[in-house]
């Protein structure tokens, strides 16, 4: 009985997350830079700017997951392990992105001096704020949105960029890698949701809301490309 209800509760959260994610993903189509990619109008300069802007979030991503793991108390050792593993897997991903950037004519100095655009500032501040709360499992909602983007959108993105700019696999390896690997994280999320944490009153609603806020701020980050 307990098993069944935790599964049903997890499914209800998954529904909310998928609803938010599908809305987010389709709204991406109207973000100017994505619209241009979809219409084959991308310039090499645009790709460099995408990488430079995305880099900030990639660096911060593993840092807020690490912060979140330090906010998880001893009642949830398994989940803390999962968060730590996740942070560990991703914390050097930005190096792949840097290599892509340099391989398409980006310069080291610009990379070193790059800062967050105003959307990334909002996204990052939000993530760190949530990650600093006790047992911030609502961040599972944020992970679903960000990983979902990796899984579903990164491949189209990589292929279109490659085709339009005639780039080799190793020049778009960051996006190709995420298209291939983010699926595993979705499985981890399902396991986490079924681990019993949903018996915490109100967590299901907080996961869904954190997903909605994260999706909105992620869009903002893409809308504000180049606005530092």
């Amino acid at each position: 009985m307990e098993m069944k209800s935790s599964k049903t509760a997890a499914q209800a959260v998954m529904r909310q997350l998928i609803i938010t994610w599908t809305d987010f993903e389709s709204r991406l189509l109207k973000v100017p830079i994505i619209e241009r990619i979809m219409r084959d109008q991308l310039q090499l300069e645009d790709y460099r700017q995408i990488l430079l802007n995305h880099r900030q979030q990639v660096i911060e991503g593993s840092r807020w997951i690490a912060r979140a793991s330090s906010s998880i108390d001893n009642r949830y050792p398994e989940l803390r392990s999962t968060f730590i593993r996740h942070a560990n897997t991703e914390h050097r991903d930005y190096q792949m992105l840097d290599a892509n950037y340099l391989s398409v004519g980006g310069d080291v100095e610009t990379l070193a001096n790059s800062e967050k655009n105003i959307g990334s500032e909002a996204l990052s501040a939000w993530m760190f704020h949530q990650a600093s709360q006790p047992n911030p499992f609502d961040l599972l909602g944020a992970m679903f949105i960000i990983e979902g983007l990796g899984k579903q959108f990164a491949r189209t993105f990589a292929q279109k960029i490659q085709k339009q700019l005639r780039l080799s696999d190793d020049q778009v390896s960051f996006y190709l890698y995420h298209a291939d690997h983010d699926e595993e994280h979705i499985g981890e999320l399902e396991d986490a949701l079924q681990s019993g944490i949903l018996s915490d009153d109100g967590l299901a609603g907080r996961i869904a809301k954190t997903a909605r806020v994260t999706a909105r701020l992620y869009l903002l980050q893409l809308e504000e490309l180049g606005n530092y």
Partner: protein
């Protein structure tokens, strides 16, 4: 409010059953050259037979309005009512026979029944649900006691070679652009109709209409299945009516029916999201749906989507999926009517069973669902 019951279903499929091998005998070949994509496209869409409202010589056997009228007569007969008793007629089609006036007027004219209220819906596949919902609400509100909703298509007329020869060069006719060629192998002709009234029929199976929900996502999608412009890219999408003459629009390739595949695949998750939101809104459990009638085949739903649906507890077991796309073809706005007609004719429906109908529209991204419950009476 009174209830609304589907008490009659009717269909009209023109001409003989046409096999895959015969398709080009009916719709013709662009510049006289058969398409090299025939087998691949048919494998993809899964269609084995269909009907066309043209004969092998290219003569038109019916108008779109005549097919609709035939289906409505059949639905009224199935409901054991005189078609002249109709108080409301709601039609749906992708394209009427004339540009002006509205299609419902043409269907009323064909039926030749006394004056009644009309609602004329023009969209693509989901126009069917708009018509059904209009009829349903008119009955529910008590404003009408009898209503018919119909869907009909004469798609094959778009596929005649003359519609393409300005935008497909002779040397590419064997391998035409996929956005043009796919639909030639996919869409076909036919009509279906429902008779709707406030009470179940006294003898036999009726379907109580529980709810109908429809949503458009045109705020985020450009046209995906479209005709009347040579492109769906903003800035290059001059409507046919803005050219100096219809000839110029034709020369520019604005008169052909097209499908943008990349956009189509981006719509699947959106439709899924809408379905999930309806699960929560109406509180239905996929396990409790006895028949699921989707206007597409299970094949087109990728493994990834199925996995997502399972994780959300939203997957309706595949053995409960029912559609007749393989045998009657993709008839656009007529398809949901044709599915319901066949379901009622061939399945042994039991009181209390539930039916969920799903009609997505790739035109500019619409999704619509209808929930029905089986009711039976004996005289």
């Amino acid at each position: 409010m009174q209830d609304a019951y589907i008490t009659g279903v009717g269909r009209f499929l023109p001409g003989p059953t046409i096999s895959n091998k015969e398709v080009e005998d009916y719709i013709g070949c662009i510049h006289g050259q058969p398409s090299a994509f025939r087998a691949a496209t048919l494998r993809k869409n899964g269609i084995k037979t269909r009907h066309y409202a043209v004969d092998i010589e290219g003569n038109h056997l019916y108008t779109n309005a005549q097919m609709a009228a035939e289906a409505i007569r059949a639905a009224a007969a199935n409901a054991k009512h005189d078609v002249a008793s109709l108080q409301l007629l709601a039609t749906s089609t992708t394209q009427g026979d004339l540009l002006v006036p509205g299609f419902a007027s043409a269907v009323h004219g064909e039926l030749g029944i006394p004056p009644l209220e009309l609602a004329s819906f023009q969209s693509v596949c989901a126009s069917s649900m708009m018509a059904i919902k209009n009829a349903y609400l008119n009955i529910r509100s008590g404003d009408k006691q009898t209503a018919a909703a119909c869907g009909s298509e004469f798609s094959s007329r778009w596929f005649r070679p003359g519609f393409y020869e300005s935008c497909v060069a002779e040397e590419e006719a064997r391998k035409p652009p996929i956005d043009l060629d796919f639909l030639r192998w996919t869409l076909s002709d036919g009509a279906g109709a429902l008779f709707i009234e406030p009470n179940p029929k006294s003898d036999g199976v009726s379907l109580r209409c529980d709810w109908i929900d429809l949503q458009s996502f045109a705020d985020r999608f450009d046209p995906c299945m479209y005709a009347g412009s040579s492109s769906n890219v903003p800035g290059e999408n001059l409507p046919w009516s803005h050219y100096a003459s219809p000839q110029e629009a034709y020369q520019a390739g604005a008169m052909a029916l097209r499908q943008d595949f990349e956009l189509l695949y981006k719509m699947f998750p959106v439709w899924l999201g809408y379905y999930l939101s309806l699960m929560d809104k109406h509180g239905f459990n996929p396990e409790s749906i006895d028949y699921y009638l989707p206007h597409y085949s299970a094949k087109s739903l990728g493994e990834e989507m199925k996995k997502l649906m399972k994780s959300a507890g939203a997957m309706i077991p595949e053995e409960r999926w029912f559609n007749n796309l393989t045998t009657v073809g993709n008839t656009g706005s007529a398809s949901i009517f044709l599915m319901l007609e066949e379901l009622l004719r061939e399945q042994d429906l039991q009181p209390g069973q539930t039916i969920l109908c799903f009609v997505p529209e790739s035109g500019r991204c619409i999704a619509s669902f209808m929930h029905l419950t089986v009711v039976t009476n004996k005289d």
